[in-house]
Amino acid sequence: MRSSISSLIRTGLALLLLHFGVSGSWADQTDALSKLGQRLSDSLLLDGGSRQTAPPKSIYATGAAASLADGLGFTSSADVREQNQETLARIRDQRSGLAEQRLATEEMRSRLSEQKWKLTDMRSRMNDQKSQMAEMRSRLNDQRSQLGDMRSRMSDQQSRLADMRSRMSDQKGQLGDMRSRMSDQQSRLADIRSRMSDQKGRLADMRSRMSDQQSRLADMRSRMSDQKGQLADMRSRMSDQHSRLADMRSRMNDQQSRLADMRSRMNDQQSRLADMRSRMSDQQSRLADMRSRMSDQFKRQSFDGAARLQSTLENSRRTIGTMHQIGGMALMANYGGDFQPGLSLARAPYQSALRTAAERRVELSTVQTFERNRMRTTVLGENMRERVVPFAEKTGARTLPRTSKEAWDSMTTAQQYKFNDGALRSRIKEGDSFRYIGRDAFRDPAERKRFDLTGTELLRLQDRGVPYQAVPRSQVQRMLPR
């Protein structure tokens, strides 16, 4: 690039120098030759078309042409003419040569001009190139400096990379270690999850048990509340007993004082008493005899009275039967009217016996009702058909009544509670004592929460201050079939 540019520059400079050098000398020569040619031509024209023998002096007298004419030596006109013609031919040749040279010069000029422009263009390009080169050099320097920086950075990066590789190697080792630990942790986690599942199952089981325990606790609390009420009742009774005891003590003190008086009197009367004892002993033996006799007599009278009543009734029945038979026979024999008085007579003791029997029956019914009510017990508890009813049957007690199944089913729960409470109230009014045989262990607590008649019955008794006996479980079990 540089060599081509420099060769171009050199060529351009050479052409420029040639142009300036040749153009000056050639301009002078062409000018002289043109002037000379003009003179020669004028001299030829003056001869009238003939050859000119000598050139006019004026032509020779001035300038370079005169010196040239002197040099030629004007020997003869013919010679001169030949010489002139030769000269003219030469001039013509020179003119044609000059014209060619002119053309060549013009061409050279145009080329030179073109070269000038090219040169100028090349200079400008060279300047541009130089500036670009300078810029490129500066850039190159910058690039070099940047390259240096980059190399230093690369060096740093490489060292860092090596450092990172070593760290990565360490990290890989740690990662492998962590993976093995994670595997262990996952196995432990699975183990913990399975344990948690078991624990959840146990927890659910414990919750259900807790629920049962809570229900039992509530039951125990209610029982405790009952026991507290009973305890308070007992305390109040004990307080009454204490007051009575104090009263009795005061009375005893009085009695003791009186006793002391009486002792003194007793000492006096002991002698009398001894006599009286002997008499009393006699009287007591007589009294015992009388009691035994009276008891026997009472029993005999009772049995006799009942037997007599029974025999009277039987006799009367037999008599009536006989009379009916006789009457029937008489009616059959058309003697009905004759037997009427006898029949009336026979009816009298029978009717009397009937009246007495009716009176005795009323008495007996009254006594039996009293005895039955006095001895009646109502059994309370859960599971009527398998526990309460069999226990009541075994112990001669009774259960609370229940309406028909259809009627019971048509009631609302509140109505059922109300019905049961009415039955309980009537038993309390009848003077029943109450025995409680406890809950049925096999009954679902959830069902009991929904509907608990027995618990309500116990609460009613407590509210009304009616005591009940809780029968021990072992005693209950002895009475039940299974």
């Binding site: 199952g201 659910a204 089981d205 919750r207 259900s208 048990r209 629920s211 049962d212 325990q213 039992r216 059994v379 599971n383 009527m384 058909r385 398998e386 009813v389 069999p390 009541a392 049957e393 001669g396 007690a397 009774r398 259960t399 009544p401 229940r402 309406t403 028909s404 199944k405 259809e406 019971w408 089913d409 262990a441 096999f442 009954r443 679902d444 959830a446 069902e447 509907f451 008649l453 021990p472 479980r473 072992s474 209950v476 079990q477 039940l480 079939p481 299974r482």
Partner: protein, 152 residues
């Protein structure tokens, strides 16, 4: 006289069709497990027995026309021992509280058809999953009975 007074009215609460329907639905399954009908309860429920183990299928008779099934599995002569403690365990004690089968005591029935569907459900949802493991594992059954007896 007293006996009649004590039970008067309560026998009318018995379910008249429980025994035949129960025989029709459950006896086959119980026989397949080696359990034969042993006796009837006072309310005409059926007690199936295989040697010392028994399974009582009955109902709560005090709820009027809305009967509910009762299921008890036990070991020994009856539901209670000599000391009055339970020698059997009800099914509601064996079923976890979070399962829907725990509420079987509320599966009510009024008619034969309803009882039949309830007993079919009892067989598939209660006897097969919860009774079968105990019927052939006496130790487990005794453990459950002991736990229930301790808690009741």
């Amino acid at each position: 006289m007293m006996n009649n007074n004590a039970s008067a009215g309560w026998k009318g609460y018995d379910c008249p069709f429980f025994t035949p329907v129960c025989r029709r639905v459950l006896s086959g399954y119980c026989q397949a497990q080696g359990f034969l009908e042993d006796e009837l309860t006072p309310t005409a429920g059926i007690v199936y027995r295989r040697q010392n183990v028994f399974l009582e299928t009955s109902y709560d008779s005090e709820t009027g026309l809305n009967f509910a099934p009762t299921l008890i599995i036990g070991a020994g002569v009856g539901k209670y021992g000599e000391d009055g403690r339970p020698s059997a365990v009800p099914f509601w004690y064996l079923i976890p509280a979070n399962l829907p089968e725990r509420g079987y005591t509320f599966w009510k029935f009024k008619t034969e058809a309803e009882l039949e569907s309830v007993l079919v459900r009892v067989r598939h949802a209660l006897l097969e999953p919860f009774a079968a493991p105990l019927l052939h594992n006496f130790d487990l059954l005794e453990k459950h009975i002991a736990n229930f007896g301790a808690e009741s």
